[in-house]
């Protein structure tokens, strides 16, 4: 459906000009534009940011920097992303919608729309991604803090997301449960484990689509860091803790009881994959 309330479409070419355009009442950024078209609300003015040079995937000493208007397809086809942590981001993206949407959807639009079903958010939470945004000056904050504090402020432009580099001995995994290959998640889950000298020195576990937006499960992560080694028993114990810790509810796709089972199974599988990857040395 076209958007009858929209009366203005502007294409600023730098961040300051874009921020200025966003001062109008009911002005909204368009990146891929999927959510803007599907959920237009009272939007009357569209601010297209594709003319601002915000797209691209680069690496530096600290990790990978992904520009806000980079599409999911550009990420899936990027060798840098394929080489990052055993290709876990690429794996996740193959589960995200279909190529038709991935050719449009941008990483910035995805992080700002922050849908409950987002496959990106749980994974980026366990990776400890950092989000850069502009509100007149540039800021870079951890993604968890971004969702807790910055995201709901008016007039910010997300400019980039940064994925940190990890030392050897780190692995991550992403699992998605959905009714069909193309449907959004009934539940998704991500985990990251870092092993130093045989001991688990960092662990993060997150679930999403539960059915609210993805979030970390700190107690489940602590089971791993407190116990030291990544054995089958400890994995099972972390998965049970995740099951109890997760904040779960019903919706049209699944009951809370079924979802709670999925949390345990998903965390167990994700950690199992991580154990295999670490033992194989990838």
């Amino acid at each position: 459906m076209s958007l009858p309330k929209v009366s203005e479409f502007v294409r600023p070419t730098d961040l300051a000009a874009a921020l200025h355009e966003l001062e109008s009442v009911n002005a909204r950024i368009v990146a891929g534009g999927i959510d803007v078209v599907l959920f237009p609300g009272d939007t009357t003015k569209l601010v297209d940011i594709s003319g601002i040079p915000l797209s691209g995937i680069n690496s530096d000493a600290e990790g990978i920097v992904i520009g806000a208007t980079t599409t999911m397809t550009a990420l899936i086809e990027s060798p840098l992303i394929a080489d990052y942590l055993g290709g876990v981001v690429t794996t996740m993206l193959h589960h995200l919608a279909s190529p038709l949407q991935r050719n449009l959807a941008t990483i910035g639009g995805t992080l700002i729309s922050a849908h409950p079903w987002s496959d990106v958010i749980p994974l980026f939470l366990v990776l400890g991604a950092r989000v850069s945004y502009y509100d007149g000056t540039e800021h870079t904050v951890p993604i968890a803090q971004f969702y807790a504090e910055s995201m709901f402020r008016q007039r910010i432009i997300l400019t980039a997301v940064r994925l940190p580099a990890f030392p050897p001995g780190t692995a991550a995994a992403f699992i998605k449960f959905s009714r069909t290959a193309f449907d959004i998640a009934v539940l998704n889950c991500a985990a990251l484990v870092q092993i130093t000298a045989g001991r688990c020195t960092a662990a993060r576990i997150a679930v999403g689509g539960a059915p609210q937006r993805g979030y970390l499960l700190p107690h489940a992560g602590e089971v791993l860091t407190k116990s030291g080694a990544l054995t089958a028993e400890i994995i099972a114990s972390a998965a049970r803790t995740a099951r109890d810790e997760a904040d779960i509810s019903d919706d049209m796709r699944a009951s809370a009881a079924y979802r709670r089972n999925l949390v345990e199974v998903g965390v167990q599988r994700a950690l199992g994959q991580i154990k295999d990857k670490l033992e194989a040395g990838v």
């Binding site: 459906m1 076209s2 958007l3 009858p4 309330k5 929209v6 009366s7 203005e8 479409f9 368009v30 891929g32 534009g33 999927i34 803007v36 078209v37 599907l38 237009p40 569209l46 297209d48 594709s50 397809t73 086809e77 193959h94 919608a97 279909s98 190529p99 038709l100 949407q101 050719n103 449009l104 290959a181 193309f182």
Partner: protein, 157 residues
């Protein structure tokens, strides 16, 4: 507002409303091969190639693609000669009512353009955003394989 688009190789100027979708624009200007299904990104019937990549035209704002290149199903044949994918869809019986066919062809074209030797899994992923109410999906996968065989010079026994 006015925009310029290259549609099926022809550069054209269009007068559009600022909130108009590419789907609405293409259909009202004669490209009826672009089908209107769900208008929510779910069915893929409205797929077109935008700068060579398959997208749901119902999710694209026309104003956003000013200056870009669009190919609709009408642009796949070369001067009346069907593309190998189109021939293969006919020969395998991948077309029943035909409503999903333009979108399927566009999605398959994008897939083969960037991956000339896809596996069966990759073909299924390539078509995963296109719903078909008639065929059961097996025939479309077979059609893509047949087109591949022919394009790679093999016979189609």
């Amino acid at each position: 507002m006015n925009i310029e688009l290259t549609v099926n190789g022809v550069r054209r100027e269009f007068t559009i409303a600022p909130g108009e979708t590419l789907l609405e624009l293409l259909r009202r200007t004669g490209y009826k091969g672009v089908k209107k299904g769900c208008e929510a990104g779910d069915c893929g019937a409205c797929a077109v190639l935008l700068d060579g990549r398959a997208v749901n035209s119902c999710l694209v704002l026309a104003a956003k693609v000013d200056g870009h290149t669009v190919i609709t199903v009408e642009g796949l044949a070369d001067d009346g000669t069907l593309a190998p994918l189109q021939e293969a869809f006919l020969d395998t019986g991948a077309v029943q009512c035909g409503y999903c066919t333009p979108g399927m062809l566009i999605a398959a074209t994008d897939l083969l353009n960037r991956n000339p030797r896809p596996s069966e899994e990759e073909i299924k992923e390539g078509l995963s955003g296109n719903l078909c109410r008639c065929t059961g999906y097996v025939k479309q996968v077979e059609a893509v394989k047949l087109a591949l065989t022919r394009m790679n010079g093999g016979n189609d026994a």
